[in-house]
Symmetry: C2
Subunit: 328 residues, 2 copies
């Protein structure tokens, strides 16, 4: 089992690599090689033979070199996030569209080769007006450059899967929460920071009203989705290889209530309300919740509630400790 | 008024050029320059200053050179047809996806420049299952490479129009009928040939049952759509720049009945039924009819019936004569 991961140095990429190394197998086959790719060469873990490469997928020479090695499973995570794709149109299309198209074309150009391609799409393929609970047959209608680029990738993966050139699964990931580490350029960043910073006793800014609802999954659940997509039977997907995924639907108020249950009132008190019309305008176009019946039937599972999402962060990122609760 | 036309040597391209030359103006402004582009340099008509260029839009250098001249209106017609895009996956993506993406990116890269971009999309963005009459809010779900590539172009044009980088209109052209000249690689070719060949006394092959329904517009109507798209106010389109267009919904039996009314029983007798399962399988996924209320309200008009479509062909291509009716 040879595996290729693009965007392997990103937050999800690093957790996926760790999970694969811990398992040692995929689809019942021992992992014999792991090729990790990112703009800057990722760190190759001990114990599994492989390569860590620095490559820019928007460079036309990059994808063919990767596809020629004919990995059995490809996790295509490399992307520019939503805020950056909106602000820098050319860069967003270069990475999110051309990178995906080049990878698909390089795979299709290899004769007698049909790898599993797991593509991280996004719930940003949906734009307003949207029902409170989005059904599986909701037509995608992106209203951001990021959502547009992800939807274009989904369409190409559907077409090339239909033609047998690859065996694709596009995962419309919920907003990842709690996203560890430093904030990135995603407009959704505050959904994580209003939990992440208070847990360690730091203040956080909330730019939207408490009533705003959204759809979340933990980094741990995201890795589980990627592994499930690599191992599932794709015959059940038919012509539509894109899946809306399970998650936790919660309002900002419900996020804060869960924070208070897990970490106490002091944590919740560290959130400062500073309404931001620009963030609000973006958030207004986003999904509020899903009924992902198709993915659930196919074995995709997320956390049951926001409390569990917060506890997963405490376990995975804070060594089981809650610093704010330990403060005087 | 500077105009750029890609695919200018194609059937619709040549008729569009002739119509622009005959009008001499667009949007009330005199046409001062016409740049015609195709794989092989098109013929530049007399009387209007301009250039005829041979260029391959899938070559990354081609589009920037065209956009630097900053034409006011761009008609982007260049495409590989449906049958060829299905058979030659790499070529279809090279021309239909990369050509369109490169043109959009080249426009977006020009500062303070927002031309009207008229893009010939297709009803092939819709795939089965479909209602008999497709409403304007039917979600696109392509089931061919051609339809996939056209839908990807529509999405990018929606996004860049939203951002003010261009001012796009995507026209989901009905199947053009009667398509003059030699058959091309489009799977829809028989819809034209069962009328075109009998009109001149030649036999034609019908590969599907008489009951099959489809959606048609004449080349004359197609040119009218392109001119209307160049001249309309786009504010009314909102975020969705793609238009389902008026046409004539007809079954093969209704096509043949119209042929008999216009050209006599002898013409209809020249159609030979040779069922072809491969053509049937493609046709089964295609739209049968539309209710294009949005485009009608915006001033897009097609023929009232199939008889008028056939008479338009007799006038435009046969000099008003019907050879089969003149034969003994």
């Amino acid at each position: 089992m040879q595996i290729l991961i693009t965007g392997a140095a990103g937050m999800i990429g690093r957790k996926l690599v760790a999970a694969l190394v811990a398992r040692g197998e995929l689809r019942g086959d021992p992992i014999t090689g792991l090729t990790l790719v990112d703009r800057d060469a990722p760190v190759l873990p001990d114990g599994i033979p492989g390569a860590a490469l620095a490559a820019d997928l928007s460079d036309p020479a990059a994808a063919p070199a990767l596809a020629e090695a004919r990995p059995d499973v490809i996790f295509h995570l490399a992307a520019v996030v939503s805020g950056e794709a909106e602000a820098d149109t050319a860069k967003g299309y270069a990475v999110n569209l051309h990178g995906t198209v080049a990878l698909c074309e390089a795979i299709a150009a290899q004769p007698d080769y049909c790898p599993r391609l797991v593509f991280t799409s996004s719930i940003a393929v949906f734009g307003a007006p949207l029902p409170d609970v989005i059904p599986d047959d909701q037509p995608p209608r992106p209203l951001t450059s990021y959502g547009t680029q992800k939807r274009m990738g989904e369409l190409m993966i559907d077409d090339l899967s239909r033609k047998g050139a690859l065996d694709g699964v596009s995962l419309r990931l919920p907003t990842i929460c709690i996203r560890p580490g430093a904030p990135n350029a995603a407009a959704s960043g505050f959904y994580s920071s209003i939990l992440r910073e208070p847990l360690i006793g730091q203040p956080a800014v909330l730019p939207v009203p408490d009533t705003v609802r959204h759809w979340f999954a933990s980094p741990r659940a995201a890795v589980g989705f990627l592994l499930r997509a690599a191992e599932m039977e794709t015959g059940a997907l038919g012509q539509d290889r894109s899946l809306n995924l399970p998650g936790v639907g919660a309002s900002v108020a419900e996020e804060i209530a869960a924070l208070e249950r897990v970490a106490g009132a002091k944590a919740a008190g560290l959130i400062r309300r500073e309404p931001d019309a620009a963030v609000q305008a973006i958030i207004d176009t986003w999904p509020r919740g899903f009924d992902p019946a198709r993915a659930r039937a196919l074995g995709f599972e997320a956390e049951p509630d926001m409390d569990t999402i917060i506890r997963a962060h405490v376990e995975d990122e804070l060594g089981g400790r809650i610093p704010v609760a330990e403060q005087g």
